[in-house]
């Protein structure tokens, strides 16, 4: 969305396609499951963070309640499988549409609130869902969660080796990134930016800000839920603390923000930075130092917000476009 977007992106696209090619080919040669696991998590979080970014980055409506959408996705597909044997591939879409509906409701009620207030409202909403997951034991298994006793098969969206998960995750992440790219270079993107910059001016120019925001919310919540299903299918066990409790919201925001909120590649970059760090920390410190990685997350969040609010990719982009017009 910066000047000469198309031209800098063309320079970028070489890198992007190369990276994509590497991502597609590499996993075939990696035998160490540890690394494959890392990739899978990066892709999953990249997708989730990208989905969050659609609402909080492009539309500028900061949400602290996306944990709910992730959880709705995870629980919906899991429950549909456990109770009805429905293939998670379809359950995924069911979860997505449910999350989208809930998201639209939240949007309709809360969108007129100013940003802090909106964040607060989404926080409350996320908490409600979280509490529901914990207390509605008959449905969700409460704190014990739900296990997926799953036979590996395509129908079951379960596989013996990690490799299929890597590619599905890659497809998911690439898909979300593609959606973000499309948004950025479409009418919707322009309208979202206009709304984010100055709502009054946008409306005076004919932008139906209400509809535009709801579209962003719909996309954002739908894709978050899809990520949730993917997680459920990969880990084959879900419980409130892994798919719906609040720290999830902080984490997804952190990844997107550090990478670059409101940019196409920021969320993936954020995930690619933090997942290895988290895995490494867990490896060194084990579970004895509980919460240490959350402290680090919190500190990084604070530092980034104070000194580099555009995130890493945002900063790169700024520097490029400063040079941009001279190049063109």
């Amino acid at each position: 969305m910066k000047p000469s977007t198309k031209r800098t992106d063309r320079k970028h696209s070489i890198w992007v396609w190369t990276a994509l090619a590497v991502m597609v080919i590499c996993p075939l040669f990696i035998k160490n499951n540890y690394y494959l696991d890392g990739f899978i998590l990066i892709f999953m979080w990249g997708a989730f963070a990208g989905a969050w970014n659609i609402l909080s980055g492009y539309a500028g409506m900061t949400s602290l309640g996306h944990n709910a959408f992730f959880g709705i996705g995870a629980y919906t597909s899991t429950l549909l499988f456990l109770h009805f044997g429905l293939t998670p591939w379809l359950g995924m879409f069911a979860g997505g549409f449910l999350a989208m509906t809930v998201g639209l409701l939240v949007g309709v009620v809360c969108f007129r609130l100013r940003s802090h207030y909106f964040a607060l409202a989404t926080l409350a909403f996320g908490e409600v869902c979280s509490i529901l997951a914990l207390s509605w034991r008959s449905l969700t298994g409460g704190a014990e969660g739900l296990a997926l006793p799953i036979e590996p098969s395509l129908y079951n969206f379960a596989f013996d080796s990690k490799l299929p998960y890597v590619y599905i995750g890659l497809a998911l992440c690439a898909g979300v990134t593609g959606v973000c790219y499309y948004i950025e270079n479409s009418k919707l993107g322009y309208y979202l930016t206009a709304f984010k910059e100055n709502e009054a001016a946008a409306r005076a120019l004919g932008v139906n800000t209400g509809r535009v925001r709801l579209t962003a919310m719909a996309l954002s919540s739908f894709l978050s839920a899809i990520s949730g299903t993917f997680y459920a299918q990969y880990v084959v066990y879900i419980d409130p603390s892994s798919v719906i409790r609040l720290p999830l919201s902080v984490q997804v925001a952190l990844f997107a923000i550090v990478g670059g909120v409101g940019t196409v590649f920021g969320p993936i970059i954020g995930a690619a930075i933090f997942i290895p760090i988290t895995i490494a920390l867990r490896g060194w410190l084990g579970t004895s130092v509980t919460g240490l990685y959350m402290i680090i997350y919190g500190v990084i969040l604070i530092i980034i917000m104070l000194y580099m609010p555009d995130g890493i990719y945002g900063k790169i982009k700024n520097r490029l476009t400063a040079a941009g017009p001279a190049n063109s």
Binding site: M1, P3, K187, Y190, T193, L205, G206
Partner: protein, 241 residues
Amino acid sequence: MLQVRDISKSFGGNVVLSDVSFDINSGDVVGLIGPNGAGKTTLFNILSGVYRSKTGRIKFNGQSLDRLKPEQICKRGLCRTFQITKPFGNISVTQNVMVGALIRAGSLKKAEQKALEILEFVGLYDKRDTLGRSLTIADRKRLEIARGLATQPRLLLLDEVMAGLNPQELSEVKRLIEDIRHSGITLFIIEHIMGVMMSLSDRIIVLDYGKMLCEGSPDSISCDPDVIKAYLGEEYLAATS
């Protein structure tokens, strides 16, 4: 083209507009003047759908504008600029104008073309890649006009686009307004710069404390004792009559 009848507006106990009625015909350039606090911008806000008037009606090209939202009114062909400019700071001038163009243009490409045409027309083509927040006041005002033009309005409401400009910038804007008029757009202009208003407008509406003081050609207005009293005070009137 525009029929306004009995528009009143209060905020709390404060009456800002009362019983304002007037017509604007296609092709006119109508000026709106009045001392500070007279209710001019509020009137614009009501016309463009930002505020609602509980009384009265507004008809634009035969259709009622009552209870329409700002974006709907813009789509109908009534567009307004803001007195305190509201550029989209983090995107380029071209992209700013594209936002306006997109309600009529089918694709981004067409919108960009239209935007560039308009930038040429208003004289901002050289600054087309500048970020919105880097513009000077004069350019911001011009951007407001450009964005408004991009929506292809039939009636354009300009809110003090000449405030704070030096004489050269002023004459450029004056020329721009004449060009806009010649392109077939009807104009309704709020302004304080009397000299320009007198020469540009076909008709002038004078507002004072929310009431219409008088309405007529520039010459008849300037001699109207009520107008003189409103602007310059009772003593001046007494002294000069």
